[in-house]
Symmetry: C2
Subunit: 302 residues, 2 copies
């Protein structure tokens, strides 16, 4: 279903002359009188993306931060946010304000204008839709489709087990993305929302290349190790396939990657985890290649 629907949207969107990049990247890119503008829209739904007992201020924060992360995944900084909210009858005015305060916390932290919204009642669960725009302001929006054979694959932070808490309190890598895009030629970027292997596969498919991940290089989070104890699965598997870490996954020239690792431009850890190859999708363990099946939370995202 996912593939057919995306292709349908792509076919329809192909008719829009001002549309440079449509569905299939973290943001759409629109040509405007002030250069490229990126726009992303995300819905988070009670019972799907968060449970009913999560504090509403955190829900508001997450709704904003998810969209900020999509803009970071274009190498840009979010500029303005609007939010539409479908509110179940059980929520009070004070509840609605908590959501708003959460949105505002995120906007304040990242210098984003909280521009407005739409609030309606719903017979269903709480549903928030955030839309964020950003002008490129001299930077180049980085797509998923630019990875080149020989590129190093890099990731910020550490991965896996976000369900234990990080999925509600992650750091959208806005500052890192802008610093990287200002200092280096990034070839392809994405944020890890579906899971490392699934999101790397998005880059691979859009770029028409292959990839090798070095098992020993993947930065495994403490949460992944903790979750592994509970799940009985290897911590590496959590790091490879858990979603919602919202770390930045990107590819660049090997020489640039070495330069970045040698001379970090920010405090957030960055790790080289593999390389772009001509075709195939592999995990390399002790020098041995095994085919890797992209795994992660499957959803549609434009």
């Amino acid at each position: 279903m996912e593939f057919a629907l995306i292709n349908c949207i792509r076919r329809l969107a192909a008719g829009s002359p001002s549309l440079r990049v449509g569905i299939g990247d973290d943001c759409a890119v629109i040509d405007t009188p002030a250069g490229p503008l990126v726009i992303t829209t995300d819905m988070i739904i009670e019972g799907v993306h968060f449970l009913s007992d999560v504090p509403l201020r955190q829900v508001g924060w997450k709704a904003a931060a998810v969209s900020f992360s999509d803009v970071a995944a274009m190498g840009l900084a979010p500029e303005a946010l609007v939010c539409a909210a479908a509110l179940p009858a059980r929520l009070s005015m004070a509840d609605a304000q908590e959501i708003l305060l959460g949105l505002n916390d995120a906007c304040q932290t990242y210098g984003v204008a909280l521009a407005g919204g739409d609030t309606d009642s719903t017979p269903g669960g709480l549903t928030l839709c955030t839309t964020v725009i950003a002008h490129a302001r001299g930077l180049k929006p980085v797509l998923r489709s630019g990875a080149r054979v020989g590129d190093a694959i890099l990731v910020t932070g550490s991965l896996g087990g976000s369900i234990l808490g990080k999925h509600l309190a992650f750091t959208p890598r806005v500052r890192e993305a802008v610093a990287l895009n200002s200092s280096f030629e990034l070839h392809a970027t994405i944020d890890i929302s579906d899971g490392l292997s699934a999101d790397l596969n998005h880059i691979v498919e859009e770029s028409k290349v292959g990839a090798v991940i070095d098992a020993g290089a993947v930065p495994i989070s403490d949460a992944a190790r903790q979750l592994a104890v509970q799940s009985g699965k290897p911590a590496l598997q959590h790091a490879l396939s858990d979603g919602e870490d919202f770390e930045l996954l990107f590819t660049m020239d090997c020489a640039d990657a070495r330069r970045l690792i040698g001379n970090p431009i920010f405090d957030t850890p960055v790790t080289i985890i593999g390389e772009i190859v001509e075709s195939g999708f592999f995990l390399r363990t002790d020098g041995k290649l095994e085919p890797l099946k992209p795994q992660g939370y499957e959803h549609l995202r434009g």
Copy 2:
């Protein structure tokens, strides 16, 4: 509840220097390197804004057209649309495509780029969130807050009874709005989504003025007359308080209004229905003023 929440958002949004107009108008207005950009977001929810038996292509069309109407209410033409959809499990791939085709119908009709979206499953009803942006491109975004004492109040088309069908097949007044904003100095504009009296009251409150509506001048639609037979209420009451006609309600200098009526600049009918006064909110019938209570569908809208 509505008022307190809007004020909370206004207080929070006041901290954003690039934000020229936040919640409380049809669109937010953001200062960008290319001049003002307007942005609007709207959610339409199954069981609230449309019934489950409405053809999905019409639902998609409405979702887009509602946001186009908000941009028209700023005197501008919509430029790009993104849509997030929460899809109940009962909907098939073919159903999702129907929604998409409806969005595309509207985008094609008004020359808007269908830029992308986000699709998720929901345990609740079908929920679509459309966000539309537009650069002012040399025009001035027209707000609700600019009505002046002595202005004529005008409306496009005819009003009332949209529930009989127009609410799913209305014409967002994009062409009319741009033509008016290009040819005249519009003082205040809004689209009629809540109902004539409720939406005129939004202009009155934002502009800190009053208004008189001439009962005999209100253009009553055939649908309002038809609905009046069913409801037993006067057709005028339907024209005054029914929502979702999505006609353009605007104020301008009396002299300009007479010039417009004398020399129409488009085929859509325009009617002078009253005037802006210092204070109060009145219906004038046969020269007699009666206080008018703003009535209409109440929801929150930013």
